[in-house]
Each structure stands twice: as structure tokens, then as C-alpha cells.
Amino acid sequence: MEFAELIKTPRVDNVVLHRPFYPAVEGTLCLTGHHLILSSRQDNTEELWLLHSNIDSIEKRFVGSLGTIIIKCKDLRIIQLDIPGMEECLNIASSIEALSTLDSITLMYPFFYRPMFEVVEDGWHTFLPEREFKLLSSVTKEWRLSYINKDFSVCPSYPPIVTVPSCIDDEALRKVATFRHGGRFPVLSYYHEKNGMVMIRSSQPLTSTNGRRCKEDEQLINATLGPGKRGYIIDTRSLNVAQQARAKGGGFEQEAHYPQWRRIHKSIERYHILQESLIKLVEACNDQSHNMDRWLSKLEASNWLTHIKEILTTACLAVQCIDREGASVLIHGTEGTDSTLQVTSLAQIILEPRCRTIRGFEALIEREWLQAGHPFQQRCAQSAYSNSKQKWEAPVFFLFLDCVWQILRQFPCSFEFNEHFLIMLFEHSYASQFGTFLGNNESERCKLKLQQKTMSLWSWVNRPSELNKFINPLFEANSLVIWPSVAPQSLQLWEGVFLRWNRSSKYLDEAYDEMINIIEYNKELQAKVNTLRRQLAELETEDGGMQESP
């Protein structure tokens, strides 16, 4: 096996494991190609079973010959291993380092994982664009599926099938693609059945400093508007940043060339700014020695909740245009793979009840994140404990999940899923036994043959036994647009993720269980009342019949 050379010491005895909420435990540490396993010798049970890919960074310390490895995980947990023997400790550390930063995707665990469960429904085929389109085509004929990108030649980060205006042919699309950053021509993101307004997304137009224009691009965008209608272009960059982009060949839509559209600039941060924000926030949460002032100032300085507010505000603005103003919107930033997707997906959650169901939310992630080409592999390579200054990492999807959590907290009965579902997605986007979040776009996933070689996350999640854990007991389908409050007083730190390993949630969990008990008991009682009523009614009619008969 190719990992053998990376594992210098496969097994060490008398290792002591320290981790949050559990007493320290001594056992045998084993390294495999993909896991770090610690089993206590007493009853041979595994105390720890950790994916190497979940390891964000490690630190070594020595006191005499006793070595200590501190492992910081991408799910924000921190564990400590005390390893007797300096050589063993060094070997283990270097093995973990090598195994947690494998270069080749095909060496990663999803390619080796063999599920222990029966696959009822193959998640790779659960959300097919054709099926999604069927819903759309039953209400409007203005949109068509285009297979122009079937070999990923027009836009490498787009899926093979995209939805575009019916009146625009593939030839025009090809031209528009040359006018948009990375070939990401405007495509349909969401159709609002209530009033026929749409949300489309793209990347920035390549207007550059000389004000280049593209007739086909203008036609395509105008084709999404009804006659005499106006639309809004929401640029997720500040005007300043958008103007600067022209020097690098990018730019924004000139109002003169798109007279039916009004452009609004909203500033959503990207890349290292977000990554630093995450690092600072997690650092603040992990240091329990802070006094109140320091905690509050660190929380503020992290700017995490500022980013949340910016993203939610922009999503709400898009929703407002569509639902309130009866106007279509085009959303883009620079590449159209990050802030653009945060806005389009959150807007759909606010607008569309279907997206608040488990299936609908999965479909949304499939559509607006995976197929839309959010570069998961790059963005989620490292989490809050990374010290490498690579510029591609950013908690873009993580922020999206946090925004969803904020809305869920404000509308706790409007979502079919609960917080655990969001936490599960956060974990799997960073490290997983499933292939779903591997690769940066459909083209890469195709080349990796993920469908054949790995298991889809949805195959596992959608099994009733798993799904049960993620069902929100309070869910009552609600067809309204759910406007969240974005006031700072209304936003909260996502404790379930950021404080998860720092404080016990015992009492909160017990209260949650009690809540489920009350709801279950209610169902039971209702069922019983129904049975009894029926029984009584039967007795009464029977009685009535008998009284008549004599």
C-alpha cells in the first residue's frame, strides 16, 4: 500500500488521549492510511477514530522523553496525545503531517471508503438538473436547458447542463462566455413562481478599461426581463473594487449599455479576509482566560458577524427586488463562485419554502454550490488552525451555513432540518468519507470519476435512520417569505459550532430532548384521543341501532 512509506511507526502503546469533556484515557495509538485510531486496552473499544483529512494542524512539545502532540481539527476540536518516547512521537507527528496533507485527491479516503450500509438511493443521481428543470418547464417556457458545456469547453467551472433564456441560442452563449470572467455567462439561478421574476448569476463582464461591450451579453440579460420591466444588477463588490477590476480586464455593466438595469454595489469580503476572520474568531472562542472586555473586543475584531450581516443583507436585498419590487436580478462579483453563490442560495432560502426542506436544501447545495462551481477543494483545504498563508482558502460555504443558522434561529419552525444538519454539512465540507465535496467543479469531479469511485454524502444522509437525527421536530411548512432581522442585536455567535468543544452543552441537550418528548407526547395523546373518539362513536351508533331494533 502506498501509505506504508509514510507511516514510520504504525503503533504506539501507552498513549494518553486528552480531549474536550472526557477524562484522559490511556491506550494504543494506531495509524492507518486514513485514520488515527486510539483504543483503550481495557475493553478494546475505540476511543478515537479520526480522519487524517480532518486534521488542520499539529504541534509537538517535549518534556524529557515524553512527547505531546496537539492535534487541531478542521471541525475546530483540539485533542492532545501524550506519547512516551521521543522517536515514536516524532515519527507519529511527521506521519500525521504527511497523511493529512496528501497532494493527490485520488489518495483521499473517499476513494477507499466502503460503506457499511445498504444504499437505498444513490445520492449521485438524486438531484439531476433535468429533473429540477421539469418543475420549471411546467410553469414557463421562457427558459431552456443548454448542453453547450457538455464537454466543459465553454466554461470549465460550469456544469454540463445550464438553464438559459429560450430565445438565446448556443452560438450567442459562446460569445457571451468570452465576455465573462472564466466563461461564466449569465444562467438561471432561481425562478420566482409567484410573479415570474428571476434571479440569474454570472461572473463579472470583461469590460476592462476601454469599456468593451458585448451585444450578445446585453441581449441575453435583457431577454430575462419582461417587456418594459426593469431589473437590478447586484454587484457583490464595492464600486471601488469593481472599478479597480477594470485594470485587470474585468469590470461591471455600464448603465449606458444596459439601460433597463440598475446597478447596486454591496461589499462582501472574500478570500484571506474571511479566512483571517475565522482564525481570529476561533482563537477568541478557544481562549477561556479572557476577561469580559477582551472577549468582546476579540469577538468584534474578528468581524465574523459583520460578514454574516453583509451577506444576509445582500441576500435580503435580492429578495426584496424580486418579491417586493417585482424585478429580476442579476448577481455577480468577480468570478461568480463565492459571494455570488452565498447571495443566490440565501435568497432562495428566504423566498422559497422548498429550500427549507431537507431535500430542497440538499438540492440547493447541489445546484447553487456544487454544480455552480464553488471551488470546495481549494476553499476547504484548511480551516481555522491553518498557519500556511495560501490564498485560496476561505470559509465561504461555512459563512453560508452560519447565515442559514441565523435564519433558522429566527424562524425555528420554518425549516425541516435542525442545527445538527448544518453542523454535519460543515464537517463534511472540510473532511469526509464521501466524495460529494471533492474537486472544485463538475469538470474536475467528472475527471476524478467520483460517481463511480466514491459514495455520495446524500446516499448516506437520506437514509431514514440518519435523517431522523436531522429532522426539526418543530417544523411546520410555511409558505411565506421569511425576512430575517439583520440588526446586530439579532445576530448571534453560532455556539453549536464555535463553542462546541469549549463548553458542555449537557443542559441544553437535555432541554432539547425534553422538547422532543413534549412534542412526541402530544402526538401520542392526539392519536389516543382519536382512537377513543372513534371507539365511542362506534359504541354510540351500535347502541343507537340496538335501541331501535327491539
Binding site: 445576530l491 441544553l508 384521543v529
Partner: protein, 645 residues
Amino acid sequence: MLSTHISLEDTPTLYSAPSSSTKRSYIWRLKVEQVKLLDRFSTSNKSLTGTLYLTATHLLFIDSLQKETWILHHHIAAVEKLALTTAGCPLVIQCKNFRIVHFIVPRERDCHDIYNSLLQLSRQAKYEDLYAFSYNPKQNESEQIQGWQLIDLAEEYRRMDVPNLNWKLSDANRDYKICETYPRDLYVPRAANKPTIVGSSKFRSKGRFPVLSYYHQDKQAAICRCSQPLSGFSARCLEDEHMLQAINKANPSNRYMYVMDTRPKLNAMANRAAGKGYENEDNYSNIRFQFVGIENIHVMRTSLQKLLEVNGTKGLSVSDFFSGLESSGWLRHIKAVLDAAIFLAKAIVNESASVLVHCSDGWDRTSQVCSLGTLLLDSYYRTIKGFMVLIEKDWISFGHKFSDRCGHLDGDPKEVSPVFTQFLECVWHLTEQFPQAFEYNEAFLLQIHEHVHSCQFGNFLGNCQKEREDLKLREKTYSLWPFLLDDQEKYLNPFYTPSSQKFTVLEPNTVPFNFKFWRNMYHQFDRTLHPRQSVFKLIMNKNDQNKQLEKEIKELESKIKQQKTRHTDTVLTKESLHCIHADSPALKPSLCFKKEQTLLPVNDAIRTIEGSNTADNRYSEYAEEFSKTEPAVVSLEYGVARMTC
């Protein structure tokens, strides 16, 4: 929240807003039409137009949608007239329950009239002019008396097993001769004789000598309270030293006791210059002295003002919110109070040591720490009745100056301070950490806060028991507690699981990240800032529903039993046939089945969503009213009533 309850929500309490039936009898002193009520946070100056009325007790605004906003005059903390605008004359009213309303009155003259009237009405010079003296809840005299007798502190001390071998009831203060701000009945160590008491009281600020606040039966340890000693730099008092010895001796399980000075050390030292100060460990045998550093009433007042100022800002950024929260110091103070209470509880639980708590006068910080400490120790205070007893004991009877601190009368603004509000907030933080430990919910805390300031009931008027007796509050006003108890359904925590033992100690974690801004208190009237669906209300409804369903099941079962016995009595032979029917629903008449189906109490009968509008959330300027769909309300009673007839 149910749509039908919206008007209730906006009139904060059942009591401070007259019911619609009594409303008509109110005489308007002043009526101004075409007044605009501005949205506090809207940047687009969105407003509602309506009519403003002034009554003897309330200010009422009825908007064009007939929605009523009632504001009790006593709740008004400040009225401010802003510079004239083209739209009219702006009038900002700040309330003690943290409601802030912003009116625009078309004519300046009217605005001036309202302003002057409100200034007059909201600041009374005499207790007799407060609402409580005119409020009539239609109780008869015996109900009124019973109401006042609901909380009996002698009974509470008996519950703690006092008097006992070591603690006795002292009659020293029967006539308020020793300490005017203490209650008549005081509990002291059995070894403390009259001269010790008198001597000690002379050595303590305002005569507030050490007395029993709480006795922990299990540990035999006591929580005592007093004011600072008049020690200056070197003075000592043998009787006071005897007093502390007596307290120490009254606890057979530990030879030392703690003396907690709840002030910052610097403050306590400064007091020495004024002939006051703190206990010298050399003079008192077997005491362990400890400062816990809670700031004084002035610091707390300024802190809250700062916090409210920041949070009232339009278009507040996340950054400004957190830096405002930090610089106000509010949560730091809350943490300090809670930490002190934890110290107290630990001394009792872990060391079985008695603790003497004091600050300067022993009626602000001392009340906070003693009451919170016992709340951590004794689960009784986590029940609705127990919490009332706790407030009655450590706050009302021991002379927390409610009238001064809440500014009930037009007095010294420097005496006003949110000390009791802080106590409630600490309790709220505990309910957040221990969601199943409290019988009461947040609404209970908010309601108490409301009435501490409303002056509608007699409980919180005056600054000490003697003053209350002189005012004859028991004859002339009503007690709040029976009204809260009558309504206790509203204040029950659906998650409450009573602890099996009396002494289940709460051990809260006071890491800073566990402290949150209490939005439901400080923004209780800013509807748009809150979650639009409440898990709490939903679960409370389910709980209510469950109780009714249980009742119905019993009724149905007894009816079925009756039917069955009638069956067996009349037609014994058909019994077997009947059994088959009961088990096979397919055989039963379809008509009957259908009828039942429509009458079933629908599982999601109570939809708890509230519509919201974009303007509230200030995404941008262009916004319209969000059309609310009526929540489907199918009440259970309705189903039952139809079923039985």
C-alpha cells in the same frame, strides 16, 4: 405569536393597560390627532399616523389600524422635545421598561402641551399620587388582605428551620428602634444578646447590623447580611466582634466564616477616610475576609445608559454594537455580580462555612449577592412562589430602596440605579444555562421588572418596610403577587423539571462567552429585532394542549366504560360482535368517521409565525408593508365543544 395577540403584546402587561371594557370610562385630558409614530430604527422615517390621548394614568396612541399603544405615566423616564421639523414637532419618550417612542406632533403648541403634561404626570412628588393608590382591580377587602398575606416571611424562615437551636427570632427591632431600614422581625444567633445587637448596630452604617438572610439546613451554615463597619482606620467595637463570633459559633460544622465585602477594595479603602470601611482581620477571630469588586450604583447607572445609547443607534453596525457592549461594561458588571454569588454558594456548599455579606449600606450589592447566592443553593427559589418569597425577603424587607432606585417619585436622579434589573438579568443568564432548573420563564422576569417600575401595586413603593407601614400600603394598595400567581400559566417554563432534592446547587459557568446581551429585556418593545417564531410559545401551547388532551382522554374513557356497561347490561349476547367492531375501523359508519376527522385538534393548530416587513429590517429604502397571511388558528376548545354537542 398569534395575530390576535398582537395588541396584547404591544400593551406590555395585562395590568398596566386597562381592558377595553374599562377603557371607555377613561376621561381624555388631552387629545391630539394626526400624530405620527415613527419607527425607532427605520432609516426611511416610516411612520404610523394616529391619535394621541392623555388620561390620568396613561398615554394612549391609537393608530389608523386601531392598534393601541399604552404607556403608563410612571413608566416614563424622560421626555424630550426635539427641534421643529417640516413634518412637525418631534417628541421622544423614553420608558423605564426600555420602550422608546418617537412621535411627531403636527402643531408645536400641542406638542408643548403634551410635553408639559407628561412632565407633570410622570414625576409625582408624593407617594399618594402614584397609580397604586387609585388602581382598583375590583377585589374586595378580604381578597386584598389575603393578597398581602400570600407571602409570609416568618413561614419562609420556618421553612429554613429557623428558629432552631442556634438561631432565634429577635424582637430588638420590633419598633424600628435599632434600624429603621430593616424589617421588624430579625433572626440572629442565639448567642447574640440585646447589648451585643445594640452595640453592633451602632458600629454599622445606618444601624444595619449582621442578621440572618438564609440558613442552609443541610450544611448548618448561614448567609448573614449587614452594612459596612464604622471602623475608619483603627476603630473597633467589641459587641460587633462578639456578633460575628456568635454567627461563627452558630455554625457547628466549621470554625471559620467568610466576610464578603462586595465592593472593589479601592472603594472600601476610600470609605475609611469617612470613618467607615471594612473589617480588620486582626480584630475578628476566625474570619476570612474577601473583596469581590462589584461597582457602585453610579457606575451601574452610567453603564446602562451607555448600553442603551449604543443600542438605540439607527443603522448600528456589528462592530459598533460589540464595542459599545464592551465599553459600556454592562456584561462585565453582570459577570461580577454572578461571580460573587458563586463565591458565596461555594463557601456554603464546599466548606460549610457561614458567610457575612455587606457592601456600603447593605441594600444594593448585598441584596444582589445574597439573593443570587441562595437562588443557586436552594431550588425552592427557582419556583414561582419561591422567587416571590426571595424578592420579598432579600429585596423588599431588607430595605432595597426601590422607590429611590427606580425613581418612583421626582427625586435625586443620582439615587436611580438598575440594581434590581441586574439581579433579574443574572437570573435570566442562569435560566439560559440551566433551561430546566426554573419553574418560571423569561416572561415572569420581564413582568416583575415591569411592575417594579409601574407603581401600580404597593409592593415596591417606598424604600423600606417602615415607610411602607407609614404609607398604609396594605390597606390602600394591592399586592402584585396574587395577580402573578393567578396568571401563572403564562409564566411557566415548559421545560421545567423539578429537582428531586431541595439542595440542588447550580454551578454556572461564567466564562465571558456565556454572557449575552439580553435582547428580550432591553429591546422588549422593538418587535422587529426578535425571532419571528418562538419555540418557547409553541412548546407552551403544546403543553397546554397535552393537559387538555389528557383530560379528554379521561372523559372519553369513562364515557366508553359507561357505554360498555350499558351494553353488557342490556345485550349480553352482542358483546362479542361489539369487540370486533372496536378493533376494525373499516366496519364503522363512514359518516361518523368523517365528522371526527374535521374536528380533530390539528397537530399544528397553533402557527407561530409572524409576518415581518422589509422596512423593519432596513435592507434598503424602498419597502412596502409585507402582507401577512392570517395564521390558521384552530383552537382545541373549539374542537372539543363541537364534539360534545
